[in-house]
Homo-oligomer: 198 residues x 2
């Protein structure tokens, strides 16, 4: 049975860059792993420790350049203005995003990271949300939603900021492994109640 | 003015151990730094990278043994069952907690970490909360509260788990630097609304 489970377990690539928002990153990776998702942390700049937006230092599992041939069920981009800018400017990340988009895989981005979707022409015209300060950049190329905490449009899942990261992580878990597991994770986190954010 | 601000800025020691809950740790440190608190991450086992409860690897700023002579306005202990167990068994951490308690400094613990307060006889008899599964251990030595997300009793601040970590971090920021700054941080995180947890 464990072999079957291993075969079936979903694989997500979590991209981490200098200046990524550590809370959005860690909440999402933690929730996905609690849900049994196999998460690989790929360092945009390599495999060295990464200093995040509020100076928490996180070590990637691998360099992003070393995972490009692996197969994933989806990709997750955390926010942080500097981290997102680095993601906008990364040609290898752009190629990976295009490949995953064409394969119909899940593409999840939070906070400022949806700007990297625009930079690499991913999901143009779809409904998305983002950190409010990045709305003007995105509104011309996407159907911008600003009254929802998370927005799913087909393979694209976007969200707004640190305060919405738990809901985002749980929704991503739900997409990958189902509502039952996602709710079990929420319960273990003591997040059972209504969760009203704006 | 920047010199005065530097002089006035509050210093918190955030303890990180193998098996600490990375989401609770990162949320709290991130929020405190957003609030202008000077946070030092002290590694319980040294300054090497620490593998947390869901395999996120975080690098401490210093070994805990290298900060014991520094002065802090408070200490923060994240949860995670294994991390909290390590904190229970650490004699140097126990001595540091006793010193900070006697100086009237803030002692903040979330999830399973209040068990380390018990192990080192900190704040016995005070009102606390914790992750529900640790209630039985704590209820004989403290006034255990299980219908509140955060509990403050004098210098002691405790909370329940990952889902309550944002409220906990914001309350700790409020205690250290005031309500106005804490609310500004919450707003920047897009955490303006009601926040109903259990």
């Amino acid at each position: 049975m464990s072999k079957n489970l291993a075969k079936m377990s979903k694989k997500i690539l979590a991209v981490l860059s200098a200046g990524s928002e550590e809370m959005e990153f860690t909440i999402t990776v933690d929730i996905l792993r609690r849900a049994g998702v196999n998460v690989t942390v790929g360092g945009l700049e390599g495999s060295d420790p990464v200093t995040c937006s509020r100076q928490v230092v996180i070590v990637p599992d691998k360099a992003l350049s070393d995972v490009s041939t692996e197969s994933f069920d989806g990709i997750f981009l955390p926010g942080g203005l500097v981290g997102a800018k680095n993601m906008c400017e990364s040609k290898p990340l752009g190629e990976l995003l295009k490949k995953l988009e064409s394969e119909g895989k899940v593409i999840a981005a939070i906070c400022a990271a949806p700007t990297a979707l625009l930079a690499h022409s991913i999901g143009l015209g779809k409904s998305i949300t983002s950190y409010p300060s990045t709305k003007d950049q995105l509104a011309g190329s996407y159907k911008y939603v600003d009254d929802q905490v998370i927005v799913q449009d087909g393979q694209l899942l976007t969200s707004r900021g640190p305060g919405t990261a738990m809901v985002f992580g749980l929704k991503l878990a739900e997409i990958l492994v189902g509502m039952e597991k996602s709710q079990e994770v929420a319960k273990g986190m003591l997040l059972n109640g209504e969760y009203k954010l704006n």
